[in-house]
Symmetry: C2
Subunit: 211 residues, 2 copies
Protein backbone atom coordinates (compact mmCIF):
# COMPACT_ATOMS: atom_id res chain seq x y z
CA UNK A 1 0.00 0.00 0.00
CA UNK A 2 1.27 3.47 -0.89
CA UNK A 3 1.37 6.60 1.26
CA UNK A 4 -1.64 7.78 -0.77
CA UNK A 5 -3.51 4.59 0.15
CA UNK A 6 -2.78 5.14 3.85
CA UNK A 7 -4.04 8.74 3.51
CA UNK A 8 -7.36 7.20 2.41
CA UNK A 9 -7.41 5.17 5.64
CA UNK A 10 -6.62 8.37 7.57
CA UNK A 11 -9.66 10.20 6.08
CA UNK A 12 -11.79 7.17 6.92
CA UNK A 13 -10.68 6.99 10.58
CA UNK A 14 -11.01 10.78 10.91
CA UNK A 15 -14.59 10.86 9.59
CA UNK A 16 -15.43 7.79 11.70
CA UNK A 17 -14.15 9.57 14.82
CA UNK A 18 -16.29 12.67 14.02
CA UNK A 19 -19.41 10.50 13.55
CA UNK A 20 -18.78 8.57 16.79
CA UNK A 21 -18.12 11.80 18.71
CA UNK A 22 -21.38 13.34 17.41
CA UNK A 23 -23.40 10.21 18.25
CA UNK A 24 -21.89 10.29 21.74
CA UNK A 25 -22.37 14.01 22.45
CA UNK A 26 -25.80 14.40 20.79
CA UNK A 27 -27.48 11.09 21.60
CA UNK A 28 -25.85 9.72 24.79
CA UNK A 29 -24.86 13.08 26.28
CA UNK A 30 -26.65 16.42 26.61
CA UNK A 31 -26.07 17.94 23.18
CA UNK A 32 -23.73 20.74 22.07
CA UNK A 33 -24.49 24.44 22.69
CA UNK A 34 -21.99 27.18 23.46
CA UNK A 35 -24.57 29.62 24.90
CA UNK A 36 -26.53 27.24 27.07
CA UNK A 37 -27.48 27.55 30.75
CA UNK A 38 -26.84 23.81 31.08
CA UNK A 39 -23.13 23.40 31.88
CA UNK A 40 -22.72 20.03 30.20
CA UNK A 41 -24.04 21.37 26.86
CA UNK A 42 -21.35 24.07 27.03
CA UNK A 43 -18.71 21.50 27.97
CA UNK A 44 -19.58 19.31 24.97
CA UNK A 45 -18.33 22.05 22.62
CA UNK A 46 -14.86 21.26 23.98
CA UNK A 47 -14.27 17.64 22.81
CA UNK A 48 -15.89 18.31 19.42
CA UNK A 49 -13.87 21.43 18.56
CA UNK A 50 -10.59 20.13 19.97
CA UNK A 51 -10.83 16.97 17.87
CA UNK A 52 -12.12 18.80 14.77
CA UNK A 53 -9.43 21.46 15.07
CA UNK A 54 -6.29 20.10 16.64
CA UNK A 55 -6.50 16.57 15.35
CA UNK A 56 -8.69 16.29 12.26
CA UNK A 57 -7.97 19.60 10.49
CA UNK A 58 -4.35 19.65 11.63
CA UNK A 59 -3.90 16.05 10.41
CA UNK A 60 -5.56 16.84 7.07
CA UNK A 61 -3.32 19.91 6.84
CA UNK A 62 -0.25 17.74 7.42
CA UNK A 63 -1.30 15.45 4.56
CA UNK A 64 -2.26 18.34 2.24
CA UNK A 65 1.02 18.21 0.31
CA UNK A 66 0.09 14.65 -0.72
CA UNK A 67 -3.69 14.79 -0.96
CA UNK A 68 -4.48 18.21 -2.53
CA UNK A 69 -4.14 18.37 -6.31
CA UNK A 70 -2.62 21.49 -7.84
CA UNK A 71 0.54 23.55 -7.59
CA UNK A 72 2.87 23.49 -4.61
CA UNK A 73 1.83 27.04 -3.66
CA UNK A 74 -1.84 26.00 -3.49
CA UNK A 75 -1.02 22.99 -1.31
CA UNK A 76 1.10 25.13 0.98
CA UNK A 77 -1.69 27.66 1.33
CA UNK A 78 -4.18 24.89 2.21
CA UNK A 79 -1.64 23.46 4.70
CA UNK A 80 -1.21 26.84 6.42
CA UNK A 81 -4.92 27.72 6.35
CA UNK A 82 -6.10 24.42 7.85
CA UNK A 83 -3.69 24.96 10.74
CA UNK A 84 -4.86 28.52 11.47
CA UNK A 85 -8.50 27.29 11.39
CA UNK A 86 -7.40 24.55 13.84
CA UNK A 87 -6.02 27.22 16.18
CA UNK A 88 -9.23 29.30 16.02
CA UNK A 89 -11.41 26.24 16.73
CA UNK A 90 -8.99 25.33 19.53
CA UNK A 91 -9.37 28.74 21.18
CA UNK A 92 -13.19 28.42 21.15
CA UNK A 93 -12.96 24.82 22.40
CA UNK A 94 -10.65 25.81 25.27
CA UNK A 95 -12.86 28.78 26.13
CA UNK A 96 -15.84 26.36 26.37
CA UNK A 97 -14.17 24.16 28.98
CA UNK A 98 -13.05 27.10 31.15
CA UNK A 99 -16.62 28.50 30.88
CA UNK A 100 -18.03 25.14 32.00
CA UNK A 101 -15.59 24.95 34.94
CA UNK A 102 -16.67 28.45 35.92
CA UNK A 103 -20.38 27.53 35.74
CA UNK A 104 -19.92 24.27 37.69
CA UNK A 105 -17.23 25.53 40.11
CA UNK A 106 -14.68 22.95 39.01
CA UNK A 107 -10.93 23.57 39.44
CA UNK A 108 -8.93 24.37 36.30
CA UNK A 109 -5.78 22.74 34.97
CA UNK A 110 -5.10 20.12 37.63
CA UNK A 111 -5.35 16.87 35.63
CA UNK A 112 -2.76 15.25 33.37
CA UNK A 113 -5.19 15.77 30.48
CA UNK A 114 -5.25 19.53 31.06
CA UNK A 115 -1.47 19.72 31.42
CA UNK A 116 -0.85 17.80 28.18
CA UNK A 117 -3.54 19.85 26.44
CA UNK A 118 -2.30 23.27 27.45
CA UNK A 119 1.35 22.46 26.64
CA UNK A 120 0.30 21.11 23.23
CA UNK A 121 -1.83 24.20 22.49
CA UNK A 122 1.04 26.55 23.35
CA UNK A 123 3.61 24.67 21.29
CA UNK A 124 1.17 24.34 18.39
CA UNK A 125 0.81 28.12 18.27
CA UNK A 126 4.60 28.55 18.31
CA UNK A 127 4.99 25.94 15.55
CA UNK A 128 2.47 27.80 13.39
CA UNK A 129 4.21 31.15 13.93
CA UNK A 130 7.62 29.60 13.26
CA UNK A 131 6.29 27.94 10.09
CA UNK A 132 4.64 31.16 8.87
CA UNK A 133 7.74 33.28 9.42
CA UNK A 134 10.10 30.74 7.86
CA UNK A 135 8.10 29.35 4.95
CA UNK A 136 5.40 31.92 4.05
CA UNK A 137 7.07 35.30 4.52
CA UNK A 138 9.61 36.09 1.82
CA UNK A 139 12.36 36.77 4.39
CA UNK A 140 13.95 33.36 4.91
CA UNK A 141 16.37 32.22 2.22
CA UNK A 142 16.41 28.83 0.49
CA UNK A 143 19.22 27.30 2.60
CA UNK A 144 17.53 28.40 5.87
CA UNK A 145 14.28 26.85 4.69
CA UNK A 146 16.02 23.61 3.74
CA UNK A 147 17.65 23.43 7.20
CA UNK A 148 14.42 24.17 9.00
CA UNK A 149 12.12 21.86 7.04
CA UNK A 150 13.04 18.55 8.76
CA UNK A 151 12.56 20.26 12.16
CA UNK A 152 9.22 21.68 11.07
CA UNK A 153 8.09 18.21 9.97
CA UNK A 154 9.42 16.42 13.06
CA UNK A 155 7.85 19.09 15.30
CA UNK A 156 4.51 18.77 13.50
CA UNK A 157 4.48 14.98 13.87
CA UNK A 158 5.32 15.33 17.58
CA UNK A 159 2.51 17.86 18.06
CA UNK A 160 -0.09 15.62 16.38
CA UNK A 161 1.09 12.84 18.68
CA UNK A 162 0.73 15.12 21.75
CA UNK A 163 -2.73 16.24 20.60
CA UNK A 164 -3.84 12.59 20.30
CA UNK A 165 -2.51 11.93 23.84
CA UNK A 166 -4.55 14.93 25.02
CA UNK A 167 -7.68 13.51 23.34
CA UNK A 168 -7.23 10.00 24.79
CA UNK A 169 -6.61 11.31 28.32
CA UNK A 170 -9.62 13.62 27.90
CA UNK A 171 -11.87 10.70 26.95
CA UNK A 172 -10.59 8.79 30.02
CA UNK A 173 -11.26 11.77 32.28
CA UNK A 174 -14.80 12.24 30.98
CA UNK A 175 -15.58 8.46 31.18
CA UNK A 176 -14.60 8.48 34.85
CA UNK A 177 -16.27 11.81 35.56
CA UNK A 178 -19.66 10.58 34.33
CA UNK A 179 -19.12 7.18 36.00
CA UNK A 180 -19.32 4.87 32.97
CA UNK A 181 -19.47 1.22 34.03
CA UNK A 182 -17.53 -1.72 32.51
CA UNK A 183 -18.91 -3.09 29.25
CA UNK A 184 -21.94 -0.76 29.04
CA UNK A 185 -22.76 0.52 25.54
CA UNK A 186 -21.62 4.09 26.17
CA UNK A 187 -18.14 3.17 27.42
CA UNK A 188 -17.63 0.96 24.37
CA UNK A 189 -18.71 3.86 22.17
CA UNK A 190 -16.21 6.16 23.90
CA UNK A 191 -13.47 3.53 23.53
CA UNK A 192 -14.16 3.03 19.81
CA UNK A 193 -14.05 6.84 19.43
CA UNK A 194 -10.65 6.81 21.16
CA UNK A 195 -9.37 4.02 18.89
CA UNK A 196 -10.60 5.87 15.77
CA UNK A 197 -8.77 9.03 16.92
CA UNK A 198 -5.61 6.99 17.64
CA UNK A 199 -5.74 5.26 14.24
CA UNK A 200 -6.27 8.64 12.52
CA UNK A 201 -3.13 9.95 14.28
CA UNK A 202 -1.16 6.82 13.43
CA UNK A 203 -2.22 6.89 9.75
CA UNK A 204 -1.34 10.59 9.33
CA UNK A 205 2.00 9.94 11.03
CA UNK A 206 2.76 7.09 8.64
CA UNK A 207 1.69 9.14 5.58
CA UNK A 208 3.95 12.09 6.43
CA UNK A 209 6.71 9.78 7.72
CA UNK A 210 6.87 7.84 4.44
CA UNK A 211 7.32 10.96 2.30
Amino acid sequence: MSAFGISGLAHLFGVLAIILLLVWLLHYREGIEFDSDIGFRVFNVHPLLMFLGFIFLAGEGMMAFLTIPGKREVRKFVHMTLHIVAIILGIVGLYAVFKFHDMAHIADLYSLHSWIGIVTFGLFGLQWLFGFVTFMLPGAQGPTRATMLPWHKAGGRALLFMAVCAAETGLMEKSRFIGLKPYQTEINLVNFTGLAILLFGVSVNIVVGLR
Copy 2:
Protein backbone atom coordinates in the same frame (compact mmCIF):
# COMPACT_ATOMS: atom_id res chain seq x y z
CA MET B 1 20.78 21.22 17.99
CA SER B 2 21.60 17.94 16.24
CA ALA B 3 19.69 14.64 16.34
CA PHE B 4 22.42 13.43 18.71
CA GLY B 5 21.73 16.40 21.01
CA ILE B 6 18.03 15.56 21.06
CA SER B 7 18.90 11.95 21.93
CA GLY B 8 20.62 13.35 25.04
CA LEU B 9 17.36 15.07 25.98
CA ALA B 10 15.54 11.79 25.37
CA HIS B 11 17.81 9.88 27.83
CA LEU B 12 17.27 12.67 30.34
CA PHE B 13 13.45 12.62 30.09
CA GLY B 14 13.47 8.80 30.17
CA VAL B 15 15.58 8.59 33.34
CA LEU B 16 13.52 11.40 34.90
CA ALA B 17 10.32 9.44 34.20
CA ILE B 18 11.80 6.29 35.84
CA ILE B 19 12.82 8.26 38.94
CA LEU B 20 9.41 9.95 39.22
CA LEU B 21 7.62 6.61 38.74
CA LEU B 22 9.74 4.98 41.47
CA VAL B 23 9.18 7.87 43.90
CA TRP B 24 5.46 7.60 43.22
CA LEU B 25 5.13 3.81 43.50
CA LEU B 26 7.54 3.32 46.43
CA HIS B 27 6.92 6.43 48.52
CA TYR B 28 3.36 7.62 47.77
CA ARG B 29 1.91 4.21 46.85
CA GLU B 30 2.24 0.74 48.38
CA GLY B 31 5.54 -0.43 46.89
CA ILE B 32 6.28 -2.96 44.15
CA GLU B 33 6.10 -6.75 44.69
CA PHE B 34 4.96 -9.36 42.22
CA ASP B 35 4.33 -12.10 44.83
CA SER B 36 2.52 -10.03 47.44
CA ASP B 37 -0.81 -10.74 49.14
CA ILE B 38 -1.55 -7.00 48.93
CA GLY B 39 -3.20 -6.43 45.55
CA PHE B 40 -1.89 -2.89 45.07
CA ARG B 41 1.74 -4.02 45.47
CA VAL B 42 1.14 -6.54 42.67
CA PHE B 43 -0.55 -3.87 40.54
CA ASN B 44 2.40 -1.50 40.90
CA VAL B 45 4.58 -3.93 38.93
CA HIS B 46 2.40 -3.01 35.93
CA PRO B 47 3.16 0.72 35.42
CA LEU B 48 6.87 0.22 36.16
CA LEU B 49 7.44 -2.66 33.74
CA MET B 50 5.23 -1.26 30.98
CA PHE B 51 7.12 2.04 31.04
CA LEU B 52 10.54 0.41 31.43
CA GLY B 53 9.80 -2.07 28.64
CA PHE B 54 7.47 -0.64 26.07
CA ILE B 55 8.52 2.96 26.28
CA PHE B 56 12.01 3.36 27.75
CA LEU B 57 13.79 0.27 26.35
CA ALA B 58 11.83 0.38 23.10
CA GLY B 59 12.67 4.07 22.70
CA GLU B 60 16.36 3.48 23.50
CA GLY B 61 16.26 0.60 21.01
CA MET B 62 14.85 2.91 18.33
CA MET B 63 17.71 5.37 18.92
CA ALA B 64 20.40 2.64 19.07
CA PHE B 65 21.49 3.17 15.45
CA LEU B 66 22.46 6.72 16.43
CA THR B 67 23.59 6.33 20.05
CA ILE B 68 25.50 3.02 20.15
CA PRO B 69 29.12 3.22 18.98
CA GLY B 70 30.47 0.35 16.89
CA LYS B 71 29.64 -1.50 13.71
CA ARG B 72 26.21 -1.53 12.12
CA GLU B 73 25.76 -5.22 13.02
CA VAL B 74 26.38 -4.45 16.71
CA ARG B 75 23.87 -1.59 16.68
CA LYS B 76 21.31 -3.77 14.92
CA PHE B 77 21.78 -6.51 17.52
CA VAL B 78 21.31 -4.00 20.36
CA HIS B 79 18.22 -2.63 18.58
CA MET B 80 16.68 -6.11 18.26
CA THR B 81 17.66 -7.23 21.78
CA LEU B 82 16.25 -4.16 23.54
CA HIS B 83 12.94 -4.80 21.80
CA ILE B 84 12.73 -8.47 22.79
CA VAL B 85 13.56 -7.49 26.41
CA ALA B 86 10.75 -4.90 26.13
CA ILE B 87 8.35 -7.67 25.08
CA ILE B 88 9.38 -9.93 27.99
CA LEU B 89 8.98 -7.10 30.53
CA GLY B 90 5.65 -6.27 28.88
CA ILE B 91 4.38 -9.84 29.33
CA VAL B 92 5.27 -9.79 33.06
CA GLY B 93 3.75 -6.29 33.43
CA LEU B 94 0.50 -7.37 31.74
CA TYR B 95 0.38 -10.54 33.83
CA ALA B 96 0.66 -8.37 36.98
CA VAL B 97 -2.40 -6.29 36.14
CA PHE B 98 -4.55 -9.32 35.29
CA LYS B 99 -3.39 -10.95 38.55
CA PHE B 100 -4.37 -7.80 40.47
CA HIS B 101 -7.80 -7.69 38.79
CA ASP B 102 -8.26 -11.34 39.75
CA MET B 103 -7.29 -10.66 43.39
CA ALA B 104 -9.52 -7.56 43.67
CA HIS B 105 -12.40 -8.84 41.48
CA ILE B 106 -12.10 -5.99 38.99
CA ALA B 107 -13.35 -6.40 35.40
CA ASP B 108 -10.68 -6.79 32.68
CA LEU B 109 -10.26 -4.82 29.49
CA TYR B 110 -13.16 -2.40 29.63
CA SER B 111 -11.39 0.99 29.70
CA LEU B 112 -9.92 2.97 26.83
CA HIS B 113 -6.51 2.53 28.50
CA SER B 114 -6.80 -1.25 28.36
CA TRP B 115 -8.01 -1.22 24.76
CA ILE B 116 -5.15 1.01 23.58
CA GLY B 117 -2.68 -1.06 25.62
CA ILE B 118 -3.72 -4.46 24.35
CA VAL B 119 -3.84 -3.33 20.70
CA THR B 120 -0.38 -1.77 21.08
CA PHE B 121 1.04 -4.91 22.70
CA GLY B 122 -0.30 -7.15 19.92
CA LEU B 123 0.98 -4.91 17.11
CA PHE B 124 4.35 -4.49 18.87
CA GLY B 125 4.79 -8.28 18.85
CA LEU B 126 3.91 -8.44 15.15
CA GLN B 127 6.31 -5.59 14.37
CA TRP B 128 9.14 -7.43 16.17
CA LEU B 129 8.43 -10.68 14.31
CA PHE B 130 8.18 -8.83 11.00
CA GLY B 131 11.46 -7.03 11.69
CA PHE B 132 13.24 -10.21 12.77
CA VAL B 133 12.14 -12.17 9.69
CA THR B 134 12.93 -9.33 7.26
CA PHE B 135 16.12 -7.82 8.67
CA MET B 136 17.81 -10.50 10.87
CA LEU B 137 17.18 -13.78 9.06
CA PRO B 138 19.26 -14.16 5.94
CA GLY B 139 16.17 -14.87 3.79
CA ALA B 140 15.07 -11.42 2.65
CA GLN B 141 17.07 -9.88 -0.19
CA GLY B 142 18.50 -6.37 -0.33
CA PRO B 143 15.70 -4.84 -2.46
CA THR B 144 13.00 -6.32 -0.17
CA ARG B 145 14.79 -4.90 2.85
CA ALA B 146 15.08 -1.49 1.21
CA THR B 147 11.33 -1.50 0.41
CA MET B 148 10.37 -2.62 3.90
CA LEU B 149 12.65 -0.30 5.89
CA PRO B 150 10.54 2.90 5.67
CA TRP B 151 7.48 0.87 6.75
CA HIS B 152 9.40 -0.68 9.64
CA LYS B 153 10.48 2.80 10.77
CA ALA B 154 7.05 4.40 10.33
CA GLY B 155 5.42 1.44 12.13
CA GLY B 156 7.91 1.68 14.99
CA ARG B 157 7.31 5.40 15.42
CA ALA B 158 3.54 4.80 15.41
CA LEU B 159 3.90 2.06 18.04
CA LEU B 160 5.97 4.25 20.38
CA PHE B 161 3.28 6.90 19.98
CA MET B 162 0.55 4.35 20.83
CA ALA B 163 2.53 3.11 23.85
CA VAL B 164 2.84 6.68 25.17
CA CYS B 165 -0.95 7.11 24.73
CA ALA B 166 -1.42 3.89 26.71
CA ALA B 167 0.82 5.23 29.49
CA GLU B 168 -0.92 8.61 29.69
CA THR B 169 -4.40 7.05 29.76
CA GLY B 170 -3.15 4.58 32.40
CA LEU B 171 -1.91 7.43 34.62
CA MET B 172 -5.30 9.14 34.23
CA GLU B 173 -7.14 5.92 35.13
CA LYS B 174 -5.03 5.34 38.24
CA SER B 175 -5.30 9.02 39.36
CA ARG B 176 -9.08 8.76 39.23
CA PHE B 177 -9.16 5.27 40.73
CA ILE B 178 -7.26 6.36 43.85
CA GLY B 179 -9.25 9.62 43.99
CA LEU B 180 -6.42 12.17 43.72
CA LYS B 181 -7.67 15.71 44.42
CA PRO B 182 -6.87 18.89 42.46
CA TYR B 183 -3.45 20.45 43.18
CA GLN B 184 -2.38 17.94 45.88
CA THR B 185 1.29 16.92 45.74
CA GLU B 186 0.65 13.40 44.48
CA ILE B 187 -1.44 14.44 41.45
CA ASN B 188 1.25 16.94 40.47
CA LEU B 189 3.86 14.15 40.78
CA VAL B 190 1.75 11.90 38.54
CA ASN B 191 1.28 14.74 36.02
CA PHE B 192 5.02 15.50 35.90
CA THR B 193 5.64 11.77 35.37
CA GLY B 194 3.16 11.87 32.48
CA LEU B 195 4.89 14.92 30.97
CA ALA B 196 8.33 13.27 31.28
CA ILE B 197 6.99 10.17 29.49
CA LEU B 198 5.44 12.34 26.78
CA LEU B 199 8.64 14.34 26.27
CA PHE B 200 10.66 11.11 26.12
CA GLY B 201 8.32 9.85 23.36
CA VAL B 202 8.48 13.17 21.52
CA SER B 203 12.30 13.35 21.71
CA VAL B 204 12.75 9.77 20.45
CA ASN B 205 10.30 10.49 17.65
CA ILE B 206 12.25 13.59 16.61
CA VAL B 207 15.60 11.73 16.79
CA VAL B 208 14.47 8.90 14.53
CA GLY B 209 12.42 11.28 12.35
CA LEU B 210 15.43 13.51 11.63
CA ARG B 211 17.62 10.63 10.43
